[in-house]
Structure formats: structure tokens, C-alpha cells
């Protein structure tokens, strides 16, 4: 961009102090951790971190982002600081991704100060979910029940799948609060969902119980890691892609174990 000839130079180049730069890297790593933990792909995470780092006054930001850890360096003048951050459990929280992305865009365009950005990130972290549990549970139930219809079922399968999925979502919220390991949680929830759906189909004498069982466990399908894995791979980020792909595979396997337990308990009488 070329400035108009008669405007004075906007401001002299100002370099950040060593302390400010350290705090800046800390903020950048916090943003990256929050992005990864809410399900963002590698490239989007890196871009958001860079926009915030540069917007806060660094001259150059160097990043290495994987789903389990981040290395970030910020450079200003002759100073440079590097930090390493690990990430927690990878979940899905689209609203958090959107909010962080909006913050980064705002900072890239208008700049910002470190304390303000810290406050903003803390607010994004502590924001409640878009919908409370009493909306999420029936919504997930209806979504999975709709699948029973898409797969060719009828109202009996619809009801069974809905009840099973709703139950599983309620169980998932409880187990997540108890900080149960993600794989154990997936096994437990898919077992509960498929068992409830199978039992209900048996009680209602539904003609196609296998559809209800399939639909009831779909809420556990690791769709986000699966898609971000492919996005990462297609943008040449092999480490992130393989890591996320493996995560999705193990989660899918956990669903299989839960369903297999139901199949075993019900004596395979729900098989097509």
C-alpha cells in the first residue's frame, strides 16, 4: 500500500519490550489452544494466532501448530520470545471458533492492547453454550430420529432412535462433567443409546430395529475430526491430518465396541 504523498508518516516504528513480547506470545498460545480445543483445523488456528500476534504489534510470528501442542515465536525489533503450549482434550465448540475468529479479524484491522485482548479471551472461554442442556438433549434426539427416517424407517423407529439418542446425550453431559476419558465415554454412550433403542424397538415390535439402533448412535460419530483431518491433509499439514484421522478412527472404533456389546446382549436378534 502506498500512502498519499502529502500525509505525514503515520507513526514511528515502535518495538515491543521483552516483557510485552513474552506476554504477547502467551496470549497467542492461549488463542491457539482455545481454537484447537474447539475443533478448528490447523490452518485456521495458525491464521487466527498470527493475526492476533501481528495485530498486537509483533513484526513477525513463527508458528508450528499440531493438534496436541503449539510452538510459537514472536519477533519485534531485536527481541524474540518463544513458548511451547500443550492442548487439552479436542472437542467441538463452533461458537468459540467463530468468536475467536471475529476477535482476530478485529485486532488485525484495528489493533488492540494486551489486557483488553486477555479479558476478551477470558470472556469467550467462559461464555455459556448457545443452547442449554434441556434444548440440546431433545434437539440431538430429534436429529438422530430424523436419521431413522432418512435411512428408510418409520415412526416406531423414529421414536426408538430419538429416545436412545436423547438418553445418550444426557449421559454424555453427565460423564463429561465427571471428566471421563473420551473413549470410555463414547463406548458407554453408544452402548446406552443402542441398548435403549433396541429395547424400545422390541417393546414396540418395530419392523426394522436395526435402523433405530444405527440412528441412535450417530450422535457419537466423530464428524468434526474426520473432516478437519482431510482439510489438514489437503493443505499439506500431514502431522495434524494423521493425528486427527487417528483420533476419529479410535472414536469410531469405540462406537463399534458399544454397539457390539448391545448386539451381544440382545442375542443378535436385531440383525438385518
Amino acid at each position: 500500500m502506498i500512502p498519499a504523498p502529502d500525509t505525514p508518516p503515520s507513526q514511528p516504528v515502535q518495538h515491543l519490550s521483552r516483557e510485552e513480547l513474552g506476554e504477547l506470545v502467551d496470549v497467542v498460545i492461549q488463542v491457539g489452544q482455545a481454537m484447537l480445543e474447539s475443533g478448528a483445523a490447523g490452518f485456521r488456528t495458525e491464521q487466527t494466532m498470527a493475526q492476533i500476534g501481528l495485530g498486537l504489534g509483533a513484526d513477525r510470528v513463527e508458528l508450528y501448530v499440531t493438534p496436541t501442542g503449539i510452538i510459537a515465536t514472536a519477533i519485534s525489533g531485536h527481541e524474540q520470545r518463544t513458548r511451547v503450549g500443550r492442548t487439552g482434550a479436542l472437542g467441538v465448540n463452533m461458537a468459540q471458533t467463530v468468536a475467536l475468529n471475529r476477535l482476530s479479524r478485529h485486532i488485525a484491522l484495528l489493533g488492540g492492547t494486551l489486557p483488553a485482548v486477555r479479558r476478551h479471551i477470558a470472556a469467550i472461554h467462559s461464555a455459556p453454550r448457545e443452547q442449554p442442556a434441556w434444548v440440546t438433549i431433545p434437539a440431538v434426539g430429534i436429529a438422530c430420529a430424523a436419521f431413522a427416517q432418512i435411512l428408510g424407517g418409520d415412526w416406531l423407529e423414529f421414536a426408538a432412535a430419538g429416545v436412545g439418542a436423547g438418553l445418550a446425550q444426557a449421559l454424555r453431559l453427565i460423564l463429561a462433567r465427571l471428566r471421563v476419558n473420551a473413549f470410555a465415554l463414547t463406548v458407554a454412550c453408544s452402548f446406552a443409546a443402542s441398548l435403549a433403542a433396541a429395547a424400545l424397538c422390541h417393546a414396540l415390535d418395530a419392523p426394522q430395529p436395526e435402523l433405530a439402533v444405527v440412528a441412535s448412535v450417530l450422535l457419537m460419530v466423530p464428524g468434526v475430526p474426520l473432516v478437519t483431518s482431510v482439510i489438514d491433509l489437503s493443505s499439506n499439514d500431514l502431522v495434524s491430518g494423521v493425528t486427527r484421522g487417528t483420533l476419529a478412527f479410535i472414536l469410531a472404533l469405540s462406537i463399534g465396541i458399544g454397539v457390539a456389546m448391545t448386539l451381544w446382549l440382545t442375542g443378535l436378534d436385531i440383525v438385518p
Binding site: 498470527a50 463452533m94 443452547q131 438422530c144 499439506n236 463399534g256 443378535l268
Partner: protein, 167 residues
């Protein structure tokens, strides 16, 4: 496939996608947009299946439609593309094939299990490649967004429109 049946499928796909969007904590005002994307993807797939297309090809096109729609919506609503594409492909997930794999393995019928495992992998691959193809199409020859050297970000990269070329 008759039109009422197609519309019925679209309706259920809308519900399924919007429900999953609630699960993924998508901002509330985007729920209907996500549902629309999912319904369009599944309806296109159904139309092609009805016209005799192979399931893998039909799923690929459905997912391509979801990717293209997601791109447009991301630009229009200023949101990351992921929230539309991830929820939009949900109705096309090969649940039955994956379930059959499980059933056959539990029964001890390994060869039938491997067969349905391959079918579900192919369908998942078709979904993934549909999204990747949509991205390739939309960024083709986009000279405004030369990718920065990965990992190194300078001042001049900061002001670039984040929707271009990102996922």
C-alpha cells in the same frame, strides 16, 4: 424418486443437520442455514441415486454441493466455513454400512464384514473428496491469496481476508 418423497427426505435432512448443529454449539442464528445446506446435499445425492448413479459418485456430488454452498455462506455470513460443511455432510454419513460391518464381525463373518467396511470407507472418502474438490474449485487461480510460507507470518499477511483459501 418422486418429488414428495424427495422433499420428505430433505425435511428430515434439515432436522438432522440442524440438530447436529445444536450439538456442535453453532451460533443459534446459523442453525437454519446449516439445516438448508445439509438438506441440499442429501437431496442432490438422492436425485442422482434415483437417476441410477453409483452411490459413491452420488455421495461425492452431494458433498461437493455442500462444500460449494459452505464456501458461499462463509463469505456471506462472515463465519468459518467449517460450521456449514461439517454439519452439512452429516446426513450422508454411511451409518448402515458401518453398522453392518460391526454386525458381520460380531457374527464372525469376516469376509462380509470387510466388504461392508470397504463400502463405508469408500463413502466416507467420497464425502471428504467432495469437500476438498469444492475447495479446489473455489480457490482455483485465486491470485489474491498466495499462501504465506507455512508457519511464518509477517505484517503484510495480517490484513488478508481470512475467508479466502482458509477452511
Amino acid at each position: 424418486m418422486t418429488t414428495p418423497a424427495l422433499l420428505e427426505q430433505g425435511f428430515w435432512a434439515f432436522l438432522a443437520t440442524a440438530g447436529f448443529a445444536v450439538l456442535f454449539n453453532v451460533p443459534t442464528r446459523m442453525l437454519a442455514v446449516c439445516g438448508f445446506t445439509g438438506a441440499m446435499g442429501l437431496m442432490w445425492r438422492d436425485v442422482l441415486l434415483g437417476a441410477g448413479a453409483h452411490p459413491v459418485a452420488a455421495t461425492f456430488v452431494g458433498s461437493l454441493i455442500v462444500g460449494l454452498l459452505g464456501y458461499t455462506q462463509a463469505r456471506f455470513f462472515h463465519m468459518p466455513r467449517l460450521i456449514f460443511t461439517v454439519t452439512g455432510i452429516v446426513p450422508m454419513i454411511p451409518g448402515i454400512a458401518a453398522f453392518e460391518t460391526m454386525v458381520f464381525f460380531v457374527r464372525g463373518d469376516v469376509s462380509a464384514g470387510v466388504e461392508s467396511a470397504v463400502v463405508s470407507l469408500l463413502l466416507i472418502g467420497a464425502i471428504a473428496f467432495g469437500l476438498v474438490t469444492a475447495r479446489m474449485v473455489m480457490t482455483l487461480g485465486d491470485a489474491r491469496s498466495p499462501a504465506p510460507p507455512r508457519g511464518i507470518w509477517l505484517r503484510e499477511h495480517a490484513h488478508r481476508d481470512p475467508d479466502v483459501g482458509a477452511s
